[in-house]
Amino acid sequence: MTAPPSPRPAPEGIRVQIQGVRRVFPGGTVAVDGVDLDLAPGSFVALLGPSGCGKSTLLRLVAGLDRPSEGAVLLDGAPVSLADRPPIAYVFQDPHLLPWRSVLDNAALPLQLAGVPRAARRDRAREALVQVGLADAADRYPAELSGGMKMRASLARALVTSPRLLLLDEPFAALDELTRNRLDDQLRALWSSIAVTVVFVTHSIVEAAYLAERAIVFTRRPARIVADHRLDLPRERVGSLRTEASFAAQTRVLFDALEQGDV
């Protein structure tokens, strides 16, 4: 006997407020320096900056995996804490699947850790695999998957908890361009279908422009904001957009901002 699925509240993204956040590592390295941001619920925001600039540190602070030295991160107005907070999902640069588990059981892991019974969590994991187009590979093991499929499995694991905030840390950076573009499209489609706030860290200008509604451009370490740019592009995005003049104009703005921050 499992409890009937409780009627979920209308899904809505989380509002993320970053207030005067500074992170100094032991040893004195300043990773993030005085960042103020307010991300609207349900928005798709790209954090763009050079490799190693501190944008990943910022993402970890938002997830509550790390604490700011100064300032605060608020989720829906409450300070972020690992113990008690709205459902967040985090996708790492590498898929980081558990190699001893099938794809299905990997996707079900967050629910297992939350104490959801086996049958129920497997059903939800199967749905998540359908969402990312990996239903056929449910019984396979990570070692038998291609890089793109592993990343899909990692994405399914993130989606299985129906997160209201999805944090992605250069998730597709290690994939070939075709696979990356396909996953970018899928991520856009997912975002418009489940209404979740997405924060996407990347060092690729094209990827930031193609995916996001709003791109925050950072300087080299320590990460400071040089530009906060609203992307003037249609909501429906298709692959051909990448070659259009309107798109080039947007990437130009981001490129100039990156150059400006790279001193």
Binding site: R60, A63, G64, L65, L82, A83, I88, Y90, F92, D94, H96, L98, P99, W100, L109, P110, Q112, L113, A114, Y141, P142, A143, T161
Partner: protein, 260 residues
Amino acid sequence: MRALRNLLPPLVALIILLALWESLTRALHIKAFELPPPSAIFLAAVKKPGPFLQAMGNTAKGALMGFGASAIFGVLAAVILASSRTLERALSPYTVFLQTVPIVAIAPLLVLWFGPGLRAITVSAFIVSVFPVIANTLAGLRSVEPALRDLFRLYGAGRAATLLQLSLPSALPSIVTGLRVASGLSVIGTIVGEFVAGFSEDGAGLGILILSDYRQLNTDRLFVSVLLAAALGLILFAAVNLLGVLLLRRWHPSEINPTP
């Protein structure tokens, strides 16, 4: 076909070696108690195999119990050490003691403490074989990917869930490596234990046979016992290896693409 081709060279080498050994001991008139020819060793084994097999069984019992204790207590000790930095820093140096203590030197102590027989023999096998289990398990537990630790923290996993679902499975390849080393060592520890701790309750092990044949200069029989002891270590090693392959074949790269 490929297995045959891999097996052929060592087999040919063995036959040549045995032939050389046989003909040289005969040609040079080497005394049988110094170095018996292979044929004499073979005859000694088949003439009366019963006592040898019984002794091998007794030694196997001591080795298996010592090895089993090493597997259980070794993994357990590593889990406890890994659970606290302070504990690990305080106790880790002393686990090395287990590695460096000369087992021959403390075997008499074991007899004093545990009495002659199987118990002292098992403890001897345990002391010799537990260190590689502790060291390898500890290394495995420490090498869990930080991102996966973050993932478990993010989803609110407790200590028990993190240990059972993440740390121990991550450490499994290292644990199997530790058990592989321990399997061979446990047979050595058993033989040494038998040298000192005398008869086990159910009769003599290979160590006892080796001692008595040495005193009577039955060198051919001595060789049989030595070969059986080596075979025992090999069997135990092969069993651990098989276990490792079965546990890891779906996921660990070293087992997915075994080197030919």
